[in-house]
Assembly symmetry: C2
Homo-oligomer: 411 residues x 2
């Protein structure tokens, strides 16, 4: 377990001790999200590449030396992380890159990358002696938190916008969470959850403001680096909603560089849905701050008009000489089919948005033939079947009769 | 890769060479399913527990020395198997057993145990030089085959009963399979697929008759044994539909015993839905043969009235001094909720049927306090959200207003 050295505001640079602040910078308010920093020189002494090579822990907790959990017994047994990284020769050839790696984070316990954050969030809530944890979410963070809270014996309250897909809502009800469906969008759900969390003193799992959750998400990046033999890819594509996942990737490579595990950062490319792209907009127009919008995309997990972690997300792209791109809903659905057919990885709409962005940039010849590309698939396609059905044709319906069948199919 | 020594009919005991027969025993017809047997004395010389300890392959292919694939290059990269085995102290205490282990096979690439069989089936189809693979399925085998066929570049034809859940159908369309929805039940779909496979010369992935597929499924049992340090549990509970999964478990422990990895077989307990329990019926009434029924259960993956692998399934239970039990749909839905809340594992109805059977037998005091129990969860709950919704209450719907919320919840 890593002792936290300090929390540092991403906007003003002020630093705080671990228990001095709970969520965001008191000086900068909600926009001032905090980085969790460690004593890297101290950690270096005992946490090495060689140690990891010997480790038999094939979950994200193999990186516990740089994860902010104080009491190891608060780690829940659900096996999170160490998801597959597929080397797709088919995609590399087709899109003209040296390598294309697909990181399938839909293979996590509740089927999304959010499990990485929830695992840390629940452990932190227990560290603080809380018995209730709450969040607002478009769905994945919620079902993930519900799952981990259930195992930990914590009560959970979840605030989701009314439009959340039924699969995700059913999943969290199954886990025994109290689900509050908010008549409104994600921002309304977020605001109501914040008010309730303050009122009741619950632990806040909102990844957009809780600095420890991005630490969980960073394990996705740590794994990519380790799975590639500690040679960071040239570019990583990932969907951007709230901005937390891309911030997690940034933090992963920041930590690894500080520890001397890698010597250069990959370029991080954030992909937003065209109908919900406030961070893209701020990046393209060099704005100091993100302007909130009304989201409109079928990729519900990134339908975030008021992204809370915008400051970290912009930094991730800017500091790595990365880029941002938007894709339409049609491009997302097309990417969903193509990825499944070429790699066997079935992602939800937001899950394949990173791949859709890669396709777009590759077609526009932004990708070099010598580049090693990684693409993160953030959630499983089974989470949103309604969208999957939009992407495909109907099955053939026949009577159980071979002659009828012969008339209907051609082989 | 293991060279197949012989195929042996489970009914008459006749043996055949590998390419002498394709699917079932010519003498016994469809009921005469075949065991795939190896030269265990030869394999013993190089395949040892020590080898496995050193292996860095954490997929089912770590057991390739006892898997019937001839050409290693036909193994697809989708990472299948080595799913978590959770030690649930909560369940052990509650139900009075020494240990209760939950094997979460919903963590496979397409989210069910069937992936183990599809991985082998697709490799065998390629071994045979086929370019099309087909099966009938209530859903999971189909989506699984579609996923693996897509990656392998094989065409796939899938025959499903009209009642298959939409999630499963969408998943296989996403993978690019040609889906034939058959107006009828699973038996109708099976018969039509058999006729079409014969007509077109496709490779037959129907697990009920293709002996090699049970070999894939056995890896679930191999993993349980290895994850428990080669000490087989006392009893393993698993849902039974076609009879293939329990036959896979039997074969796993049969092979391990033949190789000297373990010294006793676990008792295998097959759990069927009360509305679709022909194998249970044959077991309880000591019938020589299973009588087919019309299935009626919401657990679609085991809604099999005409189970093709009944002979192997009955042997698995009888030879291990195991047992069979039935559970109602209500007990299945209750088990779904309980398992999710106590272990974080969200299974589909058939997926949790093994757990429902365990609960029933534990309550009836059939389980000893000193027993080590393993329960296989065969598929992910996200595959059948409609059923999950039947198991839970509705969420609370509120305006985004803290005062309204306070009136609606009690903390």
């Amino acid at each position: 377990m890593a002792r936290v050295l300090m929390l540092k505001c991403v906007l003003c640079g002020r630093t705080y001790r671990e228990r001095e602040v709970d969520y965001t910078c008191p000086h900068c308010g909600m926009d001032g999200t905090l980085d969790v920093l460690y004593d890297y020189d101290e950690i270096k002494k005992h946490f090495t590449r060689e140690c990891l090579e010997k480790s038999r822990d094939f979950t994200q907790w193999r990186y516990r030396d740089i994860l902010p959990v104080n009491d190891e017994t608060n780690i829940q047994p659900l096996e999170v992380g160490f998801t597959p990284l597929y080397d797709s020769g088919v995609l590399a050839r087709e899109y003209g890159a040296k390598k294309v790696y697909i990181k399938d984070d839909g293979r996590n316990p509740t089927a999304s990358l959010k499990d990485r954050a929830s695992a840390v969030g629940v452990a932190r809530a227990l560290d603080y002696g809380k018995n209730t944890i709450a969040c607002s979410s478009t769905g994945n963070a919620a079902s993930s938190m519900a799952g981990f809270a259930a195992v930990a014996g914590l009560k959970s309250f979840i605030f989701v916008p009314e439009s959340a897909p039924e699969a995700k809502v059913a999943q969290l009800l199954i886990y025994g969470a109290t689900v509050v469906l908010v008549k409104g969008n994600y921002e309304d759900a977020f605001n109501l959850s914040t008010a309730a969390i303050y009122k009741f003193g619950w632990y806040n799992r909102n990844c957009g403001i809780n600095p420890y959750l991005v630490e969980g998400k960073k394990t996705c990046g740590l794994e990519i680096a380790e799975q590639l033999g500690w040679e960071a890819p040239d570019r990583i594509f990932i969907a951007v909603g709230d901005g937390c996942c891309i911030s997690g990737l940034y933090k992963a490579f920041y930590d690894l560089k500080a520890l001397g595990f890698i010597d250069r950062m990959p370029k991080l490319v954030g992909v937003q849905a065209a109908g919900s792209s406030p961070i893209y907009h701020a990046f393209k127009y060099h704005l100091p701050k993100v302007e909130f919008v009304k989201p409109d995309t079928l990729a519900d997990s990134i339908a975030v008009g008021a992204p809370r972690n915008w400051a970290k997300a912009l930094r991730a792209v800017r500091q790595t000489a990365g880029d941002m791109v938007t894709v339409t809903d049609e491009e997302i659905l097309e990417a969903m089919k193509e990825l499944a057919r070429k790699t066997g990885v079935f992602g939800e709409p937001a899950g394949v948005t990173g791949f859709a962005g890669f396709k777009k940039m590759a077609k526009e010849r932004y990708i070099g033939m010598d580049e090693r590309i990684a693409i993160v698939v953030t959630g499983n396609g089974l989470k949103d079947i309604a969208s999957a059905r939009k992407a495909v044709a109907k099955p053939i319906l026949v009577e159980p009769d071979i002659n009828e069948l012969l008339k209907r199919i051609c082989c």
